[in-house]
Symmetry: C3
Subunit: 143 residues, 3 copies
């Protein structure tokens, strides 16, 4: 088994649920050099997160943004942490509802996702800026 | 260290939170051949998910289904994605609230779960069909 | 690649979101012996969980506790599972909203967290007692 690790930076995304499978695959051609293992993708932030969800109909991503805004609304009277803007505390709540990492099986040089699965970067700030990720791949190298 | 990977298919489950620890262990006897490592279980779907929760009282599973239906209700007027049935968009929301994978320490040939922990397949469609999982085990083999 | 695994026990925490990054690092000096890999931290409980979130302003942790108590309130009339106290079923719901494990990239002997990221133990019982974790580190050892 071998381990490969790299840090990557994704350019700023709009607030919401952004499909990034293709962008990540381009930035990590090393995936192709492994025959079996895991790709671990970690985001170094607490207001932009990762999840896996449907890769096809964009209305799923729109509905997720609408509904997560209901699960973690802005401007609740009981929020103590509001010095960084009304989008900040909801972003922290969404951070713990979603995940700081996704790990995906790697099979024959490909992410072994289901037909309808894609990787999302969930940007919860209005102006989130570029986001830093650490990608760690471990498994058997192709011969 | 070695890596072992296999794809398995679980027969259709009822909508709700289904305990599958025993079923998975039977399908993955390879767990017994490792002395220390991680078992990574990944579901290739966006409307059936995985989580760990209590393995004893079935009322916990019933209450989880009831409460997640409140957190992600059907037929909300703001849903845009409703062409696949009223259970579909709530399933996608639950997908991101729960997880597409669980990873569990493997110790001395056994899943090193707590006394009360079990693996759940959370089926969020009314008629979800069989579900595909990818199991990846990595660690030291027993000598 | 090598794998290292140990079980650790954390002393009882107050109900709420507790920052434990420093405590974990002290208990796992083995992290320093790896050059690249993953640290997988697993909690063997279904009413105390793990997540990553902001490591600075304590008001974030207070607001998370307040808001998760709204997402999974006590004493709902539809709960069937209430024999273990009013804090028990909400704890199970939070268990599946949060996570039984976090996995963090390890780089040059350090947890490769973002500037503002810390590891939280989320204690959801009023009197939760000590909590057991399994830490698994895998990757390349330093030379």
């Amino acid at each position: 088994m071998e381990v490969f690790q790299k840090e990557i930076k994704l350019p700023p995304k709009h607030r919401g649920f952004n499909l990034i499978t293709g962008e990540l695959e381009k930035l990590c051609p090393e995936i192709k050099t492994f025959s079996a293992g895991i790709v671990h993708i970690f985001i170094q932030h607490t207001s932009a997160l990762l999840t896996l969800n449907e890769n096809a109909d964009p209305s799923v991503r729109a509905d997720l943004e609408t509904h997560f805004n209901k699960l973690a609304p802005e401007n609740q009277p009981y929020y103590l942490h509001n010095s960084e803007g009304s989008d900040d505390m909801p972003a922290h709540i969404k951070a713990s509802l979603l995940s700081s990492s996704v790990s995906i099986p790697l099979t024959n040089g490909e992410l072994n996702l289901g037909t309808w699965q894609g990787i999302y970067l969930c940007e919860h700030r209005n102006y989130g800026g570029a986001r830093k990720l650490v990608v760690t791949i471990f498994g058997e190298k192709k011969k």
